[in-house]
Amino acid sequence: MIRLQNVSKNYGGRPALVNVSLHIALGDFAFLVGPSGAGKSTLMRLLYREEVPTSGNVFIGGANLNRLQKHQIPLLRRRLGIIFQDYKLLPSQTIFANVAYVLRALGVAEAEVVKRVNSALCVVNLDNKGDLYPDELSGGEQQRVGIARAIVNGPPVLLADEPTGNLDPATSLEIVQLLERISARGTTVLISTHDQPIVNAMRKRVISLRQGEIVSDVDSGLYEMESEN
């Protein structure tokens, strides 16, 4: 589902990613770990085509992102669900409206919007909080709204950039377990994080980046912090 072939990315001559090759299959669940500046965010941005590689190829579902025309980028992004560290919710809108926001912008019929939003809120266990505003929810609940918004369009791939960065350990584990449940239904999930306890608790595939290079890629792996030093 996600494939990188010898991908390098430089910013003004400074390498952010160096010859990265990677394959994540449909329905896989993987952590992308590494210290700050390792290249995690750069890799994520390449996947949703906010950046283009300096060299190499990035594929999502067989489509080479390097060859995408500008007008095709929105079509790619509709096949991705993106989850952010700071949730990126609209404070002036209800939870329901936040999740429905993009569907309405895409011109989906209101009956279908209601159906899909209720279903997504049900998956994240917030089906009784649709009328509340983000400020009325805890951090963990706000991130679950972010997840509901990411899955409401039924994307085959979920990209989560530091989704537990603002949460306490117990809530972080809940969020990652929720993402694991979503993955179990056939969605490919890639989580960028440096939250060692969560990664080690899950015992899933762990792809470690250091200074822009993949230093390990292990199924049922651990996040070896000492390897960063």
Partner: protein, 289 residues
């Protein structure tokens, strides 16, 4: 149906943008209204003068104002002998004064007007030579003819066009800057919405359309205000201008020389184009997909 729903959402987003802009809306509309009023005023005036020039420029008439000590009939007979003269009409000073008193409701004074001859010549080429000959006659105090006035008006019109459009251009550039700043503020305040829409696969045209529509709304609102101002000016000034034109060239009828509808359409088109252009340019500059 889907396109209709998207259009409705764009309208909703436009209204939200207008609401968020607050007092900035009025600043943009005020400046644009001033620019469009000046543009419309200059355009209307140049339309009018152009019509006057084209109407008068081809007129073959000369007005000769006579000294009081001469008999108009004998002067008319002498003038009629000039080969290029086709027709001479005497306008006695009493008749002219009575008409002026009726038209302008002037106070009772001694009649200051001279006896006048209205002379028609055979060809446009004959106007200047005949006028020159008339000026040499001892009975003639002054000579006036539309062709000469038309030439002077034409020179003034050229100056007015250049000056007017320079001022309009400068104000339009200022307006574009203000529109750009206002829409930039909207983009800043809606950064999160724009980011979400962009990353979730909503098309750039959808994201930019409300901002372009917001600019177009400014343009349309300013155009309506500018048209209203010009309409009020037209209603109040038109009778006065008509009288002046009749006084300047009595033999000419004051035709409907105004092209108000053309001017109003031009104001509306320019307003919407400037507004939408400002929104298009700013959204293209600050929204990166």
């Amino acid at each position: 149906m889907r396109q209709l729903r998207i259009f409705f959402r764009i309208l909703v987003e436009t209204l939200i943008g207008l609401k968020q802009s607050g007092w900035s809306n009025w600043l943009v509309i005020s400046i644009l209204t001033i620019a469009l009023t000046i543009f419309g005023g200059v355009l209307q005036l140049t339309f009018t003068l152009k019509n006057v020039v084209s109407t008068w420029g081809s007129h073959l008439e000369i007005s000769a104002y006579l000294k009081d000590t001469y008999d108009p009939k004998s002067v008319a007979q002498a003038v009629a002998k000039i080969p290029e003269v086709q027709f001479v009409e005497i306008v006695p000073k009493e008749a002219a004064w009575q008409e002026m008193q009726t038209t302008f409701k002037v106070a009772s004074l001694d009649n200051p007007l001279p006896n006048t001859l209205h002379i028609k010549v055979s060809s446009p080429e004959a106007v200047d030579p005949v006028a020159s000959r008339l000026k040499l006659l001892p009975a003639v105090e002054n000579v006036r003819y539309p062709m000469k006035v038309a030439q002077q008006i034409n020179q003034f019109r050229h100056f007015l066009e250049i000056a007017g459009f320079v001022v309009t251009g400068a104000l339009t550039a200022a307006t574009l800057t203000v529109i750009g700043n206002t829409i930039h503020l909207v983009i800043e305040s809606r950064q999160r919405e724009i980011e979400i829409l962009s990353l979730m696969g909503v098309s750039p045209s959808y994201i930019r359309s409300p901002l372009i529509l917001q600019g177009a709304t400014y343009g349309a609102a300013a155009a309506v205000l500018a048209i209203s101002v010009l309409w009020i000016i037209h209603i109040n000034l038109d009778p006065y201008i008509s009288e002046q034109l009749v006084a300047l060239a009595p033999l000419l009828s004051h035709n409907n020389i105004y092209s108000l509808m053309q001017t109003f359409l031009a104001i509306l088109l320019l307003g919407v184009a400037v507004g939408a252009g400002g929104g298009f340019w700013t959204s293209g500059r600050y929204i990166k997909i």
